[in-house]
């Protein structure tokens, strides 16, 4: 068996170990590679930074634990930015498993900046329906959310005084891992003409560049890298920035694996093989 065929037949658990080490070692021995803030994240930052004091920002954190690694750091950084700028934050989620993440995130951001619930921010909680909630809020927030997450009537919450639709909201921020982004673009941005900033997982971030061009989105924060850039811009050192060294190393490993796989394939073909492994690749038996 040639070296190429041996390489192509490697047990996949060796690849798993490489990925595991590539993740753990930079976390144990960080190098703190520099992070450059890209234009789209800078645009998102500036959109929030230029809001006047007292403006109301609706942040819809539509994600669950499976994507919290990318979106939770974003949420905390953005909320801390809003609090530092003395903006009022209205938090909500359209995902059933969202409250368990959004509630502690709001509390953590508020505690870090010395802010008080109901005075500086409110958590409306979860509501089912996606589009129906987004459009319904255009007419009456209180019809969709009679009370907040803690069962307090909205009328008795200072942050919500005078706010009963998008007319009382200055900016909408959506952090999401799903097609909720499409719906916020369709309704908040296009139908109700609200400024919209999107934080998305890396998987879907590339799909939203057309909306940046058409100004339906004013900023885009993509994945953990985007969250790290926002933390850098905020001069914070959170989970996203901590993970960037590991991100770099694992990307290099995966890129090398792809290149190596192709080199081995061509070498194997040259030596007369057809490139298929000599035996089935290793894995669970």
């Amino acid at each position: 068996m040639s070296w190429a065929q041996r390489l192509l037949s490697v047990d996949r658990r060796i690849i798993f170990v490489l990925i595991g080490l590539g993740t753990a070692i930079p976390l144990l021995m960080p190098v703190n590679l520099p992070i450059t803030v890209t234009p789209r994240v800078e645009a998102a930052y500036q959109t929030i930074d230029t809001l006047p004091e007292g403006s109301r920002v609706l942040i819809s954190m539509d994600y669950e634990p499976d994507t919290m690694a990318e979106l939770n750091p974003m949420a905390i950084a953005i909320m801390r930015h809003c609090f530092r700028k003395k903006l009022k934050v209205i938090g909500m989620t359209l995902y059933p498993a969202g409250p368990g993440l959004v509630e502690p995130a709001m509390k953590a951001a508020a505690a870090a900046e010395g802010k008080t619930r109901n005075v500086d921010y409110v958590f409306l909680g979860y509501k089912s329906g996606f589009q129906t909630v987004m459009i319904g809020m255009g007419e009456s927030i209180r019809q969709q959310y009679p009370v907040d997450f803690y069962k307090t009537p909205l009328d008795s919450i200072p942050v919500m005084r005078g706010v009963n639709s998008y007319a009382g909201i200055d900016l909408v921020v959506n952090l999401t891992a799903s097609s909720a982004a499409d719906y916020w673009i369709q309704f908040a941005a296009s139908r109700f003409k609200k400024k919209l900033v999107l934080g998305a997982t890396a998987v879907m971030a590339t799909d939203y560049y057309p909306y940046l061009s058409s100004r339906q989105l004013l900023g885009l924060i993509g994945g953990m890298k985007g969250a790290a850039e926002y933390e850098k811009r905020m001069d914070l050192f959170g989970d996203a920035r901590r993970g960037m060294d590991a991100q770099s190393l694992v990307h290099v490993i995966v890129s090398l694996l792809v290149i190596l796989g192709n080199v081995a394939l061509f070498a194997s073909r040259r030596s007369g093989g057809d490139g298929t492994p000599a035996r089935p690749l290793g894995g669970p038996r």
Partner: protein
């Protein structure tokens, strides 16, 4: 999280990671525990965040009027009709609730997609080119848009000029999908980094933790 919660979370994390070696009872236990806990949390959230404030709350309000009762009972009845789908012999009444539900989302979709994805995107494409080097980018975007649309037009055979356009469209698609794949790798790796961070920081205390 307190220490007990951290230990439970770490144990369950390792149970799931054990699948990388091979399928085993620890993984299957964790998987089934997750399914039950997730479904239970979903039910509890629906009750606390939707049923209680939007249905039970208004019905129990002290000064509710007859019209308010009717307007609150209608969606509740539709919801209960939907639940009848559980019984095979009662799917007929459930269709009324389903018809309402599907009608709402279809009506929303027609205007929403047309306004935001079709008209807005075409409008942004049909505009004068900017000056200087931006014009080159604008021309490339227009060529890409038209050739990719040509590729997706399957009502005519991909021959001649149409075939050439479709071929160029495929190149643009490959670049876009390559970008998506690169970002997908980034996303998956981010999730792994987060779990390893939890194990090394919160469980083993091998790295320092405080979010600054």
């Amino acid at each position: 999280m307190n220490d007990a919660q951290t230990w439970i979370a770490a144990f369950l994390t390792l149970c799931v990671f054990s699948f990388l070696y091979r399928d085993n009872p620890f993984y299957r236990f964790a998987e089934h525990l997750f399914v039950g806990a997730a479904a239970g949390y979903l039910l509890a959230t629906q009750y606390q965040n939707v049923i209680l404030p939007n249905v039970i709350g208004p019905l129990m309000a002290p000064k509710i009027q007859a019209s308010g009762i009717v307007l609150t009972l209608i969606p509740a009845m539709l919801g209960i009709l939907l639940l009848l789908r559980v019984f095979p012999r009662l799917t007929a009444p459930a269709r009324w609730a389903l018809a309402f539900y599907v009608g709402v989302y279809s009506g929303i979709a027609v205007t929403g997609y047309m306004q935001a994805q079709v008209i807005a995107q075409i409008a942004d494409s049909v505009k004068p080119f900017e000056g200087g080097w931006h014009a080159v980018n604008s021309i490339l975007i227009l060529i890409g848009l038209l050739t990719v649309l040509a590729y997706f037009f399957f009502s005519a055979p991909h021959t001649g000029l149409h075939g050439l356009s479709a071929r160029v469209g495929i190149w643009f698609l490959m670049v876009a999908f390559g970008a998506s794949f690169g970002y997908t790798v980034m996303a998956r790796v981010s999730l792994l980094i987060s779990r390893v961070q939890f194990l090394l920081r919160d469980f083993l205390h091998w790295i320092p933790g405080v979010v600054s």
